[in-house]
């Protein structure tokens, strides 16, 4: 009797100890298959001769060699560098600026905040129709301003191989900068008020207060914003398809569009897979150190 109860409670104890893992296991199982399993499959495919559908014939690193000999890929990498730098830079600058302004006890904050945030709610399938139309000199902004009498106004970036990439940046910044603003606003609201008060008493104000006291404390927000924007930049696909479809020429081809077109429209699935592997490695190169830095310290307690 007694032994039985001890056994039962031992079993219950073991169950209790295992409970957290049991609870996590469905999610982990799903991710093991749908994320890590598929990454392995993609890695494997990148060494095969797959064309329209996966095949198992291995061809070594041929696809990677071909990939880096392909002009479109190097152009796509270059474009991503330009796009990513400007998109992240402008996105963070604008988001931070708006957050600081909005943090000055603006009465209309309740109105303004959702206005800044809403673009994030819409997909580019929705807004892409607008942007493409708006940037088109023949029907959009250029024509509207000319009709208003500003006859030598010209805005043909989307048609200009040198400048088309900037239209992508405008669309992308429009889409996410409000979200970045919300991150910074949350960060600002979370600052320790006593530190700010002390700094004010010491005579710090305006720009100096922000530059020396506030911004250094927002470091985690900068990191979070950077990571979010970076992964959006690398994943950018819908935006490009909606706005320029990679053109004019190849002026706005990005790795994501490259990967998609090789995998699905050019029937060179293995090449697409090797492009995907390079993209994933790039993401990992940025994200893993970030995760390591951010979560190395175990949670308090």
């Amino acid at each position: 009797m007694r032994e039985g109860r001890a056994l039962m409670s031992a079993a219950a104890g073991a169950l209790r100890a295992a409970l957290p893992k049991i609870v996590l296991s469905p999610s982990l199982l799903l991710l093991a298959v749908f994320v890590y399993g598929f990454i392995l499959v993609t890695g494997y495919l990148s060494f095969t001769a797959s064309k329209i559908l996966p095949v198992p014939d291995l061809v070594g690193i041929d696809n990677y060699v071909k990939l880096f000999q392909t002009r479109a890929w190097t152009i796509a990498l270059h474009n991503l560098a330009v796009f990513g730098t400007l998109y992240i830079g402008i996105g963070i600058a604008l988001g931070l600026g708006l957050a600081i302004l909005l943090d000055q006890r603006i009465r209309a904050e309740g109105w303004l905040r959702p206005i800044y945030l809403y673009p994030m709610a819409l997909s580019f399938i929705v807004t892409g129709t607008f942007w493409k139309w708006f940037f088109d000199p023949g029907i959009g902004l250029e024509r509207a301003l000319r009709l208003l009498g500003w006859n030598d106004f010209s805005f043909g970036w989307i048609k200009d191989p040198e400048r088309a990439i900037y239209t992508l940046i405008i669309g992308a910044v429009w889409h996410t900068s409000g979200f970045v603003m919300a991150l910074f606003l949350a960060g600002l609201r979370g600052l320790d008020a006593s530190v700010l008060r002390a700094a004010r008493i010491d005579g710090a104000s305006g720009v100096r207060l922000y530059w020396y006291i506030v911004l250094p404390q927002l470091k985690p927000v900068f990191a979070a914003a950077f990571v979010i924007l970076l992964h959006m930049a690398i994943k950018s696909y819908d935006l490009v398809i909606a706005l320029t479809a990679g053109g004019p020429g190849r002026a706005t081809e990005l790795p994501a569009t490259f990967m998609y077109s090789y995998t699905f429209t050019r029937n060179q699935m293995a090449m697409g897979a090797s492009a995907a592997v390079i993209m994933l490695m790039t993401v990992a190169a940025v994200i893993v150190p970030y995760l390591y830095g951010a979560y190395r310290e175990r949670p308090r307690g």
């Binding site: 392995l40 499959v41 494997y44 095969t48 064309k51 329209i52 559908l53 996966p54 095949v55 198992p56 071909k66 000999q69 392909t70 002009r71 479109a72 493409k132 088109d136 000199p137 023949g138 043909g156 989307i158 048609k159 191989p161 320029t244 479809a245 053109g247 004019p248 020429g249 190849r250 077109s261 699905f264 429209t265 050019r266 029937n267 060179q268």
Partner: protein, 414 residues
């Protein structure tokens, strides 16, 4: 590990049999716009009169590329549609994977071999087996022109390249857009098709764009083709890049532009706008290509479905080949029937010319697949051509560089 992965991968490519219900067909296509969708509705109604339910699976975008992506997912998951709208070499690729049905019995009963031109059958059949029902034949070596505009400038139908360039000059001098064009790779390649045919003739076209012979690709002839592309580039407007083809057609319809080099699907736009051939607009063969028809053909490829779904699938294939449907559909679509046994009466002037040209080209052996529309070479090669043609058209390469790039890009994609 390797064997497990291998087995999974082989599984992916295996013939998969769908649990489709009987007396119903699921059709994956990208015809979602007014005229084409309406034409397809005729097919739907025909089938429904026979008690077959039409389950519509439209996925528009990118001239069918979006639909092809969806098809991959559908086949991989073991749930293929009954029939899929498809073009050219894509059909062959899917047939190679063993994912398609066998229509030979139906084809024999209805003598499809006798009524469909051999060049079209190249794609509807795989190793002697009927796998697809062709709904139409499009042709890309057409020019569409605004007639009042030409009359106003005193321009007749140009018969040669020199006359065509002279006509373009005249329009330019008068301040209109000579050539309505949309700067998308496939549209530039569409022009390229015709220029290759004009410059080198059918044999050269075959050698360069279908057999992909390096000798032809780097010949002086090919250089001349690129030089002519450069000439045409001078006559497009400043805003051409990224424009959809139907917006370019609209420029001709409205009289802002004089000519458009485009496949005969452009006719649908003129008809939709209430325009009439030979009164409001002209259709004529690209100068110097009058004897050839560079074609592409929309076909409905039948996929492997469960045995009990086969009868409905055959009814669908039969309905697509039905002369009445081919007439009704192609009147709207701008193309001509894939069947050669249909009388030309009942079609407008452009359609009648298209049908006569098709019959002539089929006999003369000058009915040749269009590279730009995926009937010359597989997708990888086609896109390699696109890359070079577009880069050259946008001034990234000169003609010598273009030839060099073409050679290496085609070799890499083969």
């Amino acid at each position: 590990m390797r064997t497990i992965i291998e087995r999974c991968l082989v599984g992916l490519a295996l013939i998969v049999v769908a649990p489709a219900r009987a007396a119903e067909v699921e059709v994956l296509h990208w015809w979602t716009a007014g005229g084409e969708a309406a034409a397809l509705k005729v097919l739907k109604q025909n089938l429904e009169r026979q008690g077959v339910t039409w389950r519509d699976m439209p996925v528009a975008g990118g001239g069918g590329t979006q639909a092809m992506t969806v098809l991959r997912a559908r086949v991989t998951s073991g749930n293929p549609p009954t029939a899929v709208q498809m073009l050219g070499f894509d059909i062959r690729d899917w047939a190679q994977l063993g994912a398609v049905a066998d229509l030979n019995a139906l084809a024999e009963r209805n003598h499809w071999n006798d009524v469909i031109p051999a060049a079209i059958r190249e794609f509807s059949q795989y190793r002697g087996r009927w796998i697809a029902a062709p709904a139409n034949v499009h042709s890309v070596n057409w020019i569409w022109a605004n007639k009042p505009l030409l009359d106003q400038f005193g321009i007749g139908v140009p018969k040669t390249w020199t006359e065509f360039v002279a006509a373009l000059d005249k329009v330019k001098a008068a301040g209109k857009i000579p050539l309505a064009h949309g700067g998308q790779p496939w549209q530039e390649a569409t022009i390229f098709d015709s220029v290759v045919m004009l410059t080198g003739g059918p044999e050269f076209y075959r050698d360069a764009l279908i057999k992909l012979e390096p000798k032809a690709l780097q010949s002086a002839m090919m250089r001349a083709v690129f030089e002519r592309m450069k000439v045409l580039r001078r006559y497009v407007d400043a805003n051409f890049s990224g424009r959809d083809w139907n917006l370019a057609t609209a420029l001709v319809i409205k009289g802002d532009a004089a000519f458009q080099i485009m496949g005969d699907w452009a006719k649908g736009e003129f008809l939709n706008a209430g325009k009439q051939p030979n009164i409001d607009f002209l259709c004529f063969r690209f100068p110097g290509t009058q004897d050839a028809v560079i074609f592409n053909s929309d076909q409905f490829v039948m996929f492997n479905v469960a045995r009990d779904a086969r009868p409905a699938q055959e009814q669908l294939a039969h309905a697509i080949m039905d002369p009445q449907f081919q007439i009704a559909f192609n009147r709207v679509k701008g193309s001509v029937p894939a069947r050669l046994d249909i009388p030309v009466e009942g079609f407008d002037a452009c359609g009648q010319q298209g049908m006569r040209d098709l019959a002539h080209a089929a006999r003369a052996g000058t009915l040749i697949g269009s590279l730009s529309q995926g009937h010359g070479a597989p997708a990888a090669v086609k896109n390699a051509f696109y890359d070079v043609i577009t880069a050259h058209f946008n001034g990234e390469y000169d003609s010598d560089e273009a030839i060099e790039e073409l050679l290496s890009a085609v070799a890499a994609a083969k």
